[in-house]
Amino acid sequence: MSTDFNIVSEIHNDTLVMKTDGYINNTGGEQIVLEFSKHVSNINKVVLDLAKSKVVNSIGISYLLEMVETLNQNDGKLYFTNLDPTIEKTFKIMGLFQFAEKVDSIDSVLK
């Protein structure tokens, strides 16, 4: 498995901001959910900044859906920002935007 994936996270009040770098596949998706689960009890909003992630596969998406479901159960929400057009289309087809939202910037969620 490729481990060419990095994640940087920050907490702002009830919001977890994660900035990813690399292929959102099994490894990437697992790392995102792992980071999310560390903070899940203290947050109800997650912003994923995908400026440095241009490729995603369906395994990576399954992890994101898992995170969306957990957030929904807790009345929370997932937000995406800096989406590559191809990834945006992928998320749309895979139904992610039924439960998550695309935003222009991290600040628009933090406000």
């Binding site: 498995m1 490729s2 060419d4 690399g22 292929y23 596949n25 099994n26 241009k54 490729v55 995603v56 596969n57 369906s58 395994i59 399954s62 859906l65 479901e69 957990t70 159960q73 191809t86 289309k89 992928t90 087809i93 895979m94 139904g95």
Partner: protein, 535 residues
């Protein structure tokens, strides 16, 4: 408790069973279901402890699902090993109840209930309640499995739509890319994404020596060897323009580790590889088309230059008949002929052929033409003329360019010819008595060397009935479809047999004879000749 009291009590509990069921079916995962079921059990039976355990099949190990006390190995002995619903009640044991509940996915839920807090033991009502709650759990679990199955079906369907969509989008995007590296990177990103491959690789090899000329990986930092060494990989390749393009995908991802690539994955890889091939081929054909257009423009320009230099009409020479022709080939050669009135009954007869074809040849003909008109004004002997032209062409042309040149100055009054042949095909002088003389005296082609060697001239007299035939190598070397040349022999034979024709007719006839020989083959060189006859 009497039966009617029991029914009444259970009726009062019905709403609570319904609420429990609704709570369970709202759960998103197994952990949540067992956690909530644990709370339902606790609310229904006031017991010392409740342990919920689960095993994925009859033979697999029990795993703790929910308990607030530590489970011991010996506790598992309370559980039946049978594959059917088993409820056991105990007296004076660590647990009062043990349950093994088979579930619809062949897994099992194990339940261990401790003693009731009031030590009252499990009543009939409790036993019936337990039965009902087991049914509630089983139904909720079925609902959970159905929801999961439905979600998976929707996910799989969306994934197929995504694959198709990506395939179409990738085809369009690849066809727009010109830089091959960007093309390969995009192809690798897309194929890895739609097949869930962990990594992807393109190796480009020289087809003949098998040497690797380039390799691109996705993700960029992964080593080529790691991909090639993988046991779970698929490949596709194509050849184009003496290069082999090899595509490799390695390690198809699953939520738990890796799995084998499917037939669909192989088809998707082949489809992307074909799209890359089409893009490379299209780019190659586009470049060829642009180059062809450039050459055609150059040829068209060369042809127009040459057209302006070749005389439209030859001068009338009293006592002589003169005709000439130049039929340029498709590639525009550098043939040139002319007849220039020098005054006082003198005429220059010129035949030349520039090495090479195209615009450079046409420009050199143009240079020769301009210089010739300039030098001829000085009434120079042809040998001096050749020397001057040699120096000029040597200086003004690249090393691989030269001109074979034949010049004859005719004094029409005396019939005297002052001739020089600078590396050109020999002029043919056919005497009235059918004697044929080859005129070869001269030197090297113009612009070949500049060592100052003098050109050797030749003086001859054209008598009544004599004919002079000048030509370029496009005539004897004209080839038919089997690459057989028209030849010097056939040309001379034609000259001998048809020299009595009027020059214009003679030229028209020899051109027809050449065309007859060439047949369907393409004209490979200019056909140029000049025929002078003294009446």
């Amino acid at each position: 408790m009497k039966q009617n009291q029991l029914v009444e009590k259970l009726s009062l509990q019905a709403e609570s069973f319904q609420e429990g069921f609704e709570t369970l079916i709202k759960c998103g995962n197994f952990e949540e279901i067992t956690k909530n079921f644990w709370h339902i059990l606790r609310g229904s039976f006031l017991v010392t402890n409740i342990i919920l355990i689960h095993k994925s099949s009859l033979d697999s190990e029990w795993k703790l699902a929910k308990s607030e006390v530590e489970i011991k190995k010996s506790d598992l002995a309370f559980l039946s090993k049978k594959d059917q619903l088993t409820i056991k009640y105990y007296e004076k044991k660590k647990f009062e109840v043990s349950v093994v509940l088979p579930l619809s996915d062949s897994s099992y839920l194990g339940i261990l209930l401790g003693h009731k807090l009031d030590n009252s033991g499990f009543s009939v009502f409790d036993k019936i309640t337990l039965q009902i709650l087991l049914q509630v759990f089983s139904s909720a679990y079925d609902s959970f499995l159905n929801q999961r199955k439905e979600k998976k079906l929707v996910f799989d369907l969306n994934e197929k739509i995504l694959q198709l969509n990506n395939l179409i989008d990738t085809g369009i995007e690849l066809s727009r890319l010109e830089k091959q590296n960007v093309l390969f990177e995009l192809a690798l990103e897309r194929i890895a994404s739609i097949t869930n491959a962990s990594s992807a690789l393109i190796i480009i090899k020289d087809k003949e020596n098998k040497k690797v000329t380039d390799q691109i990986t996705f993700p960029g930092k992964i080593s080529t060897n790691k991909i090639l060494r993988s046991k779970l990989k698929i490949e596709s390749s194509f050849e184009f323009n003496k290069k082999l393009y090899q595509f490799v995908l390695s390690e198809k991802e699953a939520r738990k580790g890796t799995t084998s690539f499917s037939d669909l994955d192989e088809m998707l890889l082949q489809a992307i590889a074909r799209q890359v091939q089409a893009s490379i081929e299209n780019e190659f054909l586009l470049k060829q088309s642009i180059e062809k257009e450039r050459i055609q423009k150059e040829m068209s320009l060369a042809a127009s230059i040459q057209q302006k230099i070749i005389p439209e009409k030859l001068p009338q020479i009293v006592g002589y008949e003169l005709a000439g022709i130049n039929i340029p080939s498709r590639d525009v050669g550098g043939d040139y002929y002319d007849s220039i009135d020098l005054g006082e009954g003198k005429y220059a007869l010129i035949m030349a052929d520039v090495s090479g074809k195209g615009i450079s040849a046409a420009l050199l003909v143009s240079t020769l033409n301009a210089a010739l008109y300039s030098y001829l004004e000085f009434n120079l002997p042809t040998t001096d003329l050749a020397e001057k032209l040699n120096k000029l062409i040597y200086k003004s042309s690249p090393p691989d360019k030269y001109i074979t040149f034949f010049a004859a100055i005719l004094d029409s009054n005396s019939g005297e010819l002052d001739i020089v042949n600078a590396g050109h095909n020999p002029g043919l002088l056919l005497r009235k008595d059918a004697t044929l003389e080859n005129i070869e005296a001269g030197g090297t082609g113009l612009g070949m060397l500049d060592f100052g060697f003098p050109y050797t001239g030749q003086r001859l007299t054209l008598n009544q009935g004599d004919k002079l035939f000048l030509y370029t190598d496009g005539i004897p070397e004209a080839m038919n479809i089997t690459e057989e040349e028209y030849s010097d022999e056939r040309m001379i034979e034609f000259l001998r047999n048809n020299s009595d024709l009027v020059p214009e007719e003679f030229i028209s006839s020899i051109v027809n004879d050449i065309k007859k020989h060439v047949g369907e083959a393409e004209q490979s060189d200019d056909i140029t000749c000049l025929f002078l006859k003294r009446n």
